[in-house]
Assembly symmetry: C2
Homo-oligomer: 165 residues x 2
């Protein structure tokens, strides 16, 4: 969407559509909450980099939604299921620990959650597939791995989440 | 999406995707902020009506996005424009005053803003049309109407917004 500058009102809409609080957006954009508020009130010009950052993240999430829905559609041709589980991370610490490869594109767990929710909506609408967003429970996940003799991996997490349905 | 109950995590994702703060969601759902927090933490069962209300609003917004994009596409066949203006309402008082017909379906200005933002995104993506969201400025709008000899109407507001581009 980055063809022209966003107005303060639109910048706020964009931030809210990413489910970012003022505090989280300030953390992401390396500014103070007071500065962010002044941008959104039109009292201070929005730095181009801040606008670019939020628009880029929105694009990354949209791309992730499209790619994930495509993968799920392809997978369903082989093994049709009505319901899928998708692991989400209830705290920033857990998100950071388990997803080091995502931190450069989607640094905050809130952004990952936004992506997960949009994937859930899109899969329901387009593929008629119900995706359950399952917050990672470390104790339960460890017990599951021990019992099943599994190492830590994205696949093991997906298996654990499926066992929670 | 209303085929099965949302988990507390999913309920929170839904609320945030509608750009509702805890306070605004509590106002909409006629509950206290403390209750809402307990629902989202899984400490208290989410009332079916509360879940239904948010899912219905999300559906209403999606429908509005589709309908508006269709109207814009149809309009563009007659008079192609690269840029359009869309009036939004900076306060609840202005939203209520100018949109009595929307109050039963989208009672809060935040929900109207969410719809407007999604319309902007969708039109950009699908139609390659830039929509500017223009917050209503009552003084400027009144001056515009006097100068142009226009009465108050949705159409006059749209004309004013277009004059602000």
């Amino acid at each position: 969407m980055a063809h022209y500058a966003l107005t303060p009102f639109e910048f706020q809409c964009l931030r809210l559509s990413l489910s970012l609080s003022e505090e989280k957006a300030a953390e992401l954009l390396k500014c103070s909450v007071a500065e962010l508020q002044q941008w959104e009130l039109g009292q201070l010009a929005i730095p181009e980099l801040a606008e670019k950052k939020l628009l880029e993240i929105d694009d990354i999430i949209e791309m992730q939604v499209l790619n994930t829905c495509d993968s799920i559609e392809a997978m369903f041709k082989k093994e049709p299921k009505r319901r899928l589980a998708f692991v989400v991370y209830p705290t920033q610490a857990l998100y950071t620990q388990y997803n080091p490869e995502f931190l450069s594109s989607l640094p905050l767990t809130e952004l990952y959650n936004t992506a997960a929710w949009r994937i859930k909506k899109e899969c329901k609408l387009v593929l008629e597939v119900d995706i359950a967003l399952v917050p990672l429970n470390v104790e339960s996940y460890k017990a599951f791995r021990e019992q099943a003799g599994l190492g830590e991996s994205r696949e093991s997490r997906a298996k654990w989440a499926a066992s929670q349905l």
